[in-house]
Amino acid sequence: MSTAAATHDDHHDHHHAPTGLKRWLFSTNHKDIGTLYLWFSFAMFLVGGFMAMVIRAELLEPGMQFVDPEFFNQMTTVHGLVMVFGAVMPATVGLANWMIPLMIGAPDMALPRMNNWSFWILPFAFGILIFAVLMSAFGAGNPSAPNFGWTFYAPLSTKYGPASTDLFILSVHMMGISSIMGAINVVVTVFNMRAPGMTLMKMPLFVWTWLITAFLLIAVIPVLAGAVTMMLTDRHFGTSFFDAAGGGDPVLFQHVFWFFGHPEVYIMILPSFGIVSAIIPAFARKPLFGYASMVYATASIALLSFVVWAHHMFTVGMPLAGTLFFMYMTMLISVPTGVKVFNWVATMWRGSLTFELPMKWAIAFVILFTCGGLSGLMLAITPVDFQYHDTYFVVAHFHYVLVTGAIFSIFAAAYYWLPKWSGVMPSKLLGELHFWNSLISANLLFFPMHFVGLAGMPRRYADYALQFADYNFWISIGGFWFGLSQVIFLIVAIRCAMKKGEPAPAKPWDGAEGLEWEVPSPAPFHTFDTPPVIK
């Protein structure tokens, strides 16, 4: 994927880069907006992480210590919402903003002003949600923040939801508007803005995975909007969508929610597949094994994600044919996912491997994500799920795929592309400390959750039976350790932002491929004003 006219500077840059506050508030530049997304998502990661610390502090020992059960419920709820919608999703959108135009040789995102709108809705949407939590913690009369779990099942969120539920509904609508506009921007950029010669099957896999992610977002976020709208009318206008007495059904909520919710988990993980597929070839110094099969596997995973949603609901009860259908469809997903894992391993096979920071995170991703995938396969088996449902085994499963999966890959991406973003190499020493501390503490945190889950410890409770005490103590220690380790990354990121560190060459990783390495580091404010020609 080499180029003839790629290394071209912004010499005919007629409008100069804006400066000061205006640069960030009114931006139409994909790199600045990407940076905003990344900082926002990291801030949310720390906020959501702080809530996890409250949860783990309460669960350090059996009995009630720090918070009352009502506030504990609010913490589990808002921790989930902030991490899913505020940390992981915006982080991958930030990466898309920064990297997609650079990777396909486009001057910017297709619709730059809408791009900035997608970002600026988020701080307000999360401001509303976090305000509800602060009011609950410190406000007069302590009105409850949302307390029904991040899945906000009816009737907990309709008949029994606190007053702040309505603010939560509107804040979900805002996040949805942001996501849909962001996704439309990605799809249009990929289809309409590729440099001449950049055919679809020459695109880096990160662009492919994001294209498919964006399609999923446009397809399912409106369904989430429908679900919260039905909640709102059930709460205030007497409709009966989730009320059996009026001819509706609370289970209908779960169907609508998980029709959104299952594709949603792939929305969080597909960009990670793209990241890892960029990093592993770079440090194995071999082209990605099975590029085309990676593309088709990603598309298959996305399509299958629309027909597996009820595997979240096996214990709710449904006709046997439905149960079997959803069980087999879910197990089928392991085929394309397996293709991906084999391709990553085959890429490393007999490669000239070196283990720089991005590669360390990527390998950790492959191993630990596969771990989470295997426990997912166990959960897919209906009769087995009857025992695992709503236990810490489920918590272990989705934290393996989301923390050691999605978030580890986002760190991999950060260490891989920070030289391009900032122009300096991230500190090796701090990076190693961050990696090893995160790796060990995350496993101390999440692995024992499998054991307590299999032994029957339910999720979402503020207290537990005595026999779970030892494991929970170590889980909490792992939690605090993991949380503190992330402060190291904050220092790494701030040092890069302040340009402290060894200056980065245009291509700091010698095996790296792609257009983004053909522009200087840091990438100039405008790149590819005139499209490069791809051979």
């Binding site: 900035n116 709108w117 309505d166 603010l167 921007n185 289809f191 446009i218 369904v223 001819g247 059904d249």
Partner: protein, 292 residues
Amino acid sequence: MATDKYYVPESSPWPLTASIGLCMTAVGGAHFIQQSTMADMAPSFSGKPLFFLGLAWLLVVLALWWRDTIKESVGGLHSNQLGGSYRQGMLWFIFSEVMFFAAFFGAMFYTRWLIIPWLSGEGSGAMTHELLWPNFQAMWPLTETPDGTTTTPMGAWGLPAINTAILLVSSVTLTIAHHALLEGKRGTLILFQAATVVLGVIFLGLQALEYVHAYDMGLTLDAGIYGSLFFLLTGFHGAHVTIGTIFLFITLIRVLKGHFSEDNCFAWEAGAWYWHFVDVVWLFLFVTVYWL
């Protein structure tokens, strides 16, 4: 007219200010709904006033934003490639709207095909039926809910059939206008686009009339799942017709101002696509909500 370079706009204050408006609308909307439906919530500034202030703010900002876009278009800054971005963006936006309606249509079929038979004792619903609502009988439209609320279904062959005809005719008039736009026949374009807008307004008037009838005969939002689905499906459709009518009205004004030519008419075509989408949704509504 068209340039080769892809137009990347200078920094713009509208996205941030629109977000502020959206936030006020959302917070105000949530409080407004609470304060008008819950007895223990007193009206305050953070309710109705904030909602309308936010809405007005949002609309003003969007108008200013679109004014910038129109200036750029008229000023010849838009390349054919940018036109492609707008067109593709609009199509994906319409796809997202399709999925929004799909959630409500899905809820309707799930209710008709599964919930109501189960509540009447089919399949695994035997004990629910026996213990909770032994007198409940499956039917659609659901005129008597499990807890005994009764209602009357809306027939298909009165106003709804007339409305179907109106929307179908409006699709034809809009297509004639589209051909006139592409062939440069200005008179025909203005006449048939104006006719389309008028048909849209008539549709909305009749829809309002139908709602009055519905409430008179006891078909209300809180009359069980049939009323819920009826009003949310037709209500969201009506909201989309309203937006579509405003959209066509604005592009009509822009036609009068001479903004469009056969190769620079994205906004016009976006309005037309939106109108056809709203039409197709209505056909599904007519068949599944009113008729069958």
